[in-house]
Amino acid sequence: MSTFDIRTRSKSDAIVLEIYGELDAHTAPRLEKELKKLIDEKFVNIIVNGSSLDYISSAGLGVFMAYIEDIRLQKGDIKITNLKPKVFNVFDLLGFPTLYDILDSEEEAHSRFKSSS
């Protein structure tokens, strides 16, 4: 099993979360903690870079759902980028593309944030 990890870095006006490994029911609370922390600190322009995300379960997706309202209320957003095809498939199957910006690159996410601000 690959080790789960979240690394945070800031890039221009957004915070980038890189997620490593498998985001499942077991690891979902860690992403929750991270998102909560960002919201508390008023960092609401969030880019989730999934280039190293190997697996996502619906509990993992649920974390995004649980905080998206708070984030959008504060005029921010979660934009998801660089998903592997297998992982994108799960997002797609459950209908996430209609609710979230799922993009190919961080640059696209940045420019979306810029154009919306």
């Binding site: 077991h26 993992g60 799960v90 459950l94």
Partner: protein, 570 residues
């Protein structure tokens, strides 16, 4: 045929072939019905120089044709009824030639070509007239028929591909659901933290089906409780929960009728109620709001939701069971400590008293009991002996017993008479106990010089004094049980002279009320008999004899506390 005409005809033929080839290439690669139809229209119009065309798409439900794709100016309505009979023999017909089709001609449609696949009618390619009203040649009709034929095959293919794609997607979704359940059971198994289980449950409902509002109700210790809820402004009341738990159906979509019956479901925006299969048989339900993406719940979602609910329910019950177990162990541990404290309140060894041999035992039952005895030697070598039985068992009884013990020990050094002392003890116990708690109490003072016993019996089983060749003497002078009423009339005391060889036995009802398998009590007469038979032995041997007799009568362990004091005057 002239050469130039032949060359022209050849060129035209080649051009037609190329058109067909191009079209077939395009159609093979395309799996998009709209694209195929659009392409068919454009090619037909371009090839034949026709300025209006449409696809009439067959709708098997109303047997009419929907005007699906149209190009150029015409006045066709959205749906038309085209008779199929004229097309039994032919694939294409000119509308003017058939009265049943002439209404199409009025809308500017000259020619219909059937689009079909394997005899399944799909629709028509409807074409207007050529620019300049040139007639459509039979060769052109043939080309059109070929184009339409290829399009028909391509449409059938693309429908198949679409069906395959949708089946695949459904399958993918199922697999994803299974992964979710697998993931959940793994996570739930690994956790005994109820908060974590509730969080994972919430994330799963959110992530899989976009459900923000929900509650989970179970019954625990005979009361419904909302184990977890999300998105509800206020909790459900107990009667509301009872009502929901008692619903008969496993799957309930909240409709207008239900909303009238349970208006709070509307306030909470609950849309669906599912019954869970609880192993303990107790009902449990989940209530769910609408999906945040606006989609409706489907039959397959119910199965998934019930599975997720059951998994969560099982794990949550597991955490409760664990807590109960821990609580039980904690209570047992406390009882164990209470019992050992209680044992310490009893004398750890019998004192040495001139002219008196003493043996005493207390065997506690499994529970904490309320038996008490004491043997206190004063500075003159005299003995105060006491025996008592508190009503009931458990911690309340042991507290009361401890209370009595301390009163007795505090009063002991003071030189007050037994009558007054007993009155004071009663007053204190009466103050300290609820109305339904009493203590049967006997105490006596043995004066080793005078060889007398002075005693007060407050409602205790009368101790027995056995003397050789003499009837048993029962020590019953005294008064009512301690704690039953305030001390109004003084207790009475009695003094009896003792002789060498006299055997004094004090006991609690744990001995006389010991039961055998036939629900028969050991009783006073058996005890008396046993004491008489062992009268010549020393107190320890007598004690052992009584214990073994009761044990063989009722078996072990003793249901009640067993206390016995045996004293022999020497």
């Amino acid at each position: 045929m002239t050469l130039s005409k032949e060359i022209h005809s050849n060129q035209k033929y080649r051009f037609e072939l190329e058109t067909l080839l191009d079209t077939s290439r395009l159609l093979i690669e395309s799996h998009d019905v709209d694209f195929i139809l659009n392409n068919l229209l454009l090619i037909s119009m371009g090839k034949l120089l026709i300025n209006r065309a449409a696809v009439l798409w067959y709708n098997p439900r109303d047997r009419n044709h929907i005007v699906k794709t149209k190009k150029g100016r015409h006045t066709l309505p959205d749906s038309v009824s085209v008779p199929k009979e004229p097309f039994r023999e032919k694939n294409s017909l000119f509308c003017r030639d058939h009265s049943s089709l002439s209404f199409l001609a009025d809308h500017g449609i000259e020619l219909l070509v059937t689009i079909k696949n394997n005899e399944r009618h799909l629709g028509f390619l409807a074409l207007g007239s050529k620019i300049g009203n040139q007639p459509v040649s039979s060769q052109e009709v043939r080309i059109l028929e070929s184009l339409v034929f290829m399009s028909g095959v391509a449409i059938a293919n693309s429908e198949l591909v679409e069906e395959l794609r949708s089946t695949n997607r459904k399958l993918d979704y199922k697999v994803q659901e299974l992964f979710t359940l697998f993931d959940l059971s793994k996570a739930f198994n690994a956790s005994v933290d109820r908060e974590e289980i509730k969080r994972i449950f919430k994330f799963t409902l959110l992530g899989q089906l976009f459900i923000r509002r929900f509650f989970l109700i179970i019954r625990r210790n005979d009361h419904p409780i909302t184990v977890t809820r999300n998105g509800l402004d206020k909790p459900l009341t107990e009667p509301q929960m009872e009502e929901l738990l008692s619903m008969d159906e496993s799957i309930v979509r909240v409709d207008d009728e239900l909303l009238r019956q349970y208006p709070y479901l509307g306030e909470h925006q609950i849309h669906l109620i599912l019954k869970l299969h609880n192993e303990g048989g107790e009902p449990a339900i989940i209530g769910l709001g609408r999906r945040a993406n606006g989609l409706d719940f489907e039959q397959t979602d119910f199965n998934f939701l019930i599975s997720v609910g059951n998994l969560a329910l099982m794990s949550i019950q597991k955490t409760y069971l664990l807590e109960d177990q821990i609580e039980k162990e904690r209570m047992e541990e406390e009882l164990h400590i209470a019992r050992s404290i209680q044992q310490k309140l009893l004398p750890d060894k019998t004192p040495e008293i001139p002219n008196l041999q003493i043996a005493a035992i207390n065997i506690p039952s499994y529970q904490i009991g309320g038996d008490y005895y004491d043997l206190i030697r004063d500075d003159h070598g005299n003995l105060t002996m006491a025996i008592a039985d508190v009503t009931g068992k458990g911690v309340p009884a042991s507290l009361l017993m401890a209370n009595l013990q301390s009163i007795l020990h505090i009063l002991q050094p003071f030189d007050i008479g037994m009558v007054e002392a007993t009155g004071q003890i009663n007053a204190l116990i009466y103050q300290n106990t609820p109305i339904d708690k009493f203590i049967s109490f006997f105490w006596g003072r043995f004066d080793h010089e005078k060889r007398t016993l002075r005693y007060v019996n407050a409602g205790h089983n009368p101790p027995v004094l056995l003397r050789k060749d003499h009837d048993p003497i029962l020590l019953s002078e005294g008064g009512v049980l301690l704690g039953a009423m305030p001390t109004m009339t003084p207790y009475e005391e009695a003094e009896i002279p003792l002789e060498t060889g006299d055997l004094l036995s004090l006991y609690t009802d744990g001995i006389t009320e010991a039961m055998n398998d036939g629900n028969e009590e050991f009783g006073e007469s058996r005890l008396m008999e046993c004491l008489k038979n062992n009268l010549d032995k020393d107190p320890h041997a007598i004690l052992e004899a009584v214990i073994s007799e009761v044990r063989s009568f009722s078996g072990e362990p003793f249901a009640d506390d067993f206390t016995l004091i045996v004293c022999k005057v020497t």
